[in-house]
């Protein structure tokens, strides 16, 4: 071989050890722990007993009546919560995409020196703790909050809009929390976009709308998909917004899991099982995306 210095090769494996330790301790171990816990028996006042059982998964999917003596039926309670969570996360992703794309486009097409300022403005709220921001949002939209007071003062409404404890409020909270995760990756993609492509499309008789659909969106697609994943996955598991802005009817998976690990009412194996089911769902989505992406790459 010409010129290559291979003397470092025997060192390659030892040098990788720190990375494996980090991945092992911070990524694989917690997941493994969660997987093991989901098959253990619940102990009162939290914690687990080392008794292998499928009880947690059984509780999630199956019901045998209030006293456990009826024939097994599908338990809809938790599936409904999951379904609501997925639905909320999907709507949140769609909203973020709808608002995030024009925002990212706007920033990416500003002169280079002012882009930094716009990005800074987008990220400013993130310097404040999510909990504080969510509580503030609640103050903003509650019955005697500035939004309702303002609308009433303007005479647009007579009674305050019942916003708190609704799906709409939860949605608002999710949207507000995750919008930047949509804007930033799309911004990165649009910033790299070669605007000569849009000129070429217009030159070849494409209207603005067609250019957007046929050229711009397909070319910046990796940014759109990255943004959607970055919004969908945390929105699916979110518990602050549903806890603080929602009520019993807006319960989401995040809150369900959160409750299982709190105080004496908790149920660690059940919480672990719900987490495993949630993770499986997310993994399925990611695998579908990865396969679609690799198919495209091969074409």
């Amino acid at each position: 071989m010409a010129g290559g210095d291979d003397s470092w090769r025997p060192l390659a494996r030892p040098l990788l050890i720190p990375i494996w330790v980090v991945i092992g301790v911070f990524s694989l171990l917690p997941v493994l722990l969660m997987a093991v816990y989901s098959f253990l028996t619940k102990e009162f006042r939290g914690g687990v007993e080392w008794d292998f059982t499928l009880a947690a998964y059984d509780q999630f999917f199956v019901t045998r009546g209030l006293f456990g003596d009826e024939p097994a039926q599908i338990e809809w309670t938790y599936i409904t919560i999951f379904w609501r969570s997925i639905w909320q996360a999907l709507i949140c992703t769609a909203l973020c995409l709808l608002i995030g794309f024009p925002t990212a486009w706007f920033i990416a097409t500003r002169p280079a020196q002012s882009r930094g300022i716009w990005l800074f403005l987008i990220t400013i709220p993130y310097w404040v703790n999510l909990l504080i921001r969510t509580v503030s949002l609640k103050f903003l939209i509650r019955d005697n909050g500035p939004l309702n007071e303002g609308l009433m003062a303007l005479g647009l409404i007579n009674d305050p809009l019942p916003l708190v404890n609704t799906n709409l409020a939860v949605q608002l909270g999710l949207f507000y929390s995750y919008l930047p995760f949509m804007v930033l990756p799309i911004y990165a993609a649009v910033e790299r976009y070669n605007f000569a492509l849009s000129e070429a499309a217009a030159d070849l008789y494409a209207s603005r709308w067609t250019t957007l659909r046929e050229i711009v969106l397909p070319v910046v697609k990796p940014g759109l998909i990255a943004g959607c994943i970055l919004v969908f996955v945390p929105a699916l598991g979110a518990f602050l917004a549903p806890d603080l802005l929602g009520g019993a009817k807006t319960f989401m998976i995040g809150s369900l899991i959160d409750e299982q690990f709190k105080g004496s009412q908790g149920n660690w194996p059940f919480g672990a099982a719900a987490s495993m089911i949630l993770m499986t769902l997310v993994l399925i989505v990611l695998v579908f995306y990865a396969r679609a992406a690799s198919r495209e790459g091969a074409a």
Binding site: E199, A201, A202, D203, L204, Y205, V219
Partner: protein, 351 residues
Amino acid sequence: MTAAVHLQDVVKRYGSVTAIHGVSLTIADNEFFTLLGPSGCGKTTLLRMIAGFEVVTAGEIRLFGDDIARLDPNHRPVNTVFQHYALFPHMSVIDNVAFGLKMQGLDLAARRTRAGRMLEMVHLSHFADRMPAQLSGGQQQRVALARALAPAPKVLLLDEPLSALDLKLRQAMRVELKTLQQETGITFIFVTHDQEEALTMSDRIAVMSEGRVQQVGSARDIYETPDNRFVADFIGETNLLEVDVHSVTDGRASMTLPGGHPLTCPSASATPGRHALSIRPERVTIAATGELKATVDRVVYLGTDLQVLSRLADGSPFTIRLQNAARTTIPEAGATIGLHLEEGAARLLAD
């Protein structure tokens, strides 16, 4: 006959900066027309205004008689070959070529047939299903050409299309472009800063500088009879001398060269006074009988040619080009030589 493209007093301003100062040009149908000039001269801005990517500040752009100056680019029947190709990266070669046809509403079968024919024309048929990133620069260039020609535009605009290619490929593409233009009969408007490119391909050339057209003419016109100092200096190599014109009689100007040597040369419109005189290095021969004397500084060997760098009596630099033929006697550095100017070698310039 109606001109393919007619520009009338076209002005482009960006805020307080004027990029194009009232350009008027008439480009005939079927012509290979080149906008030539150094970077920043406004040639690309002018082309982009014809394409519709830049809005004219004032003036008319007529395409076969119709004023198109205020139409959006997608409503102008002209197509562009972009400097860096601008191929759609997510589409195969054939889909790139067929894009304009799709926008024109042709059905799939018709699109495939015509796009296939275009690829054949640029010798890329077997690359139809590749992605642009899998092609070399020269191949991408030809795809861009096929894509722009596919919708059969009335006028094809080319924005420095060869500048990103290496020398050999560039030379081959020049011949190919010229052939293509003659075969298709489409008017080509070609933008370049490369004078060799302009001289070899164009029917006519507009030399531009600082947002103005300096001269329009055939390659021979602008090379041999430059109108002004800029054109003479920009096109090819020349000796520019400051001369004093004493008198003009019967279309001939009498003048004194730096160093005191007298000279007369044809001039239609010169007035007495100080002027620039252009003498092409290859129109001068070294002859013992030559009355204009120069001292040789250095001889540069260029293969086919020899470049003799010398100085006139007053010290102004003067270059002579000799063919490297067997009979050529090469002057020695330091020698004093006599120069003989052929009739028509010198041209008096307007400023």
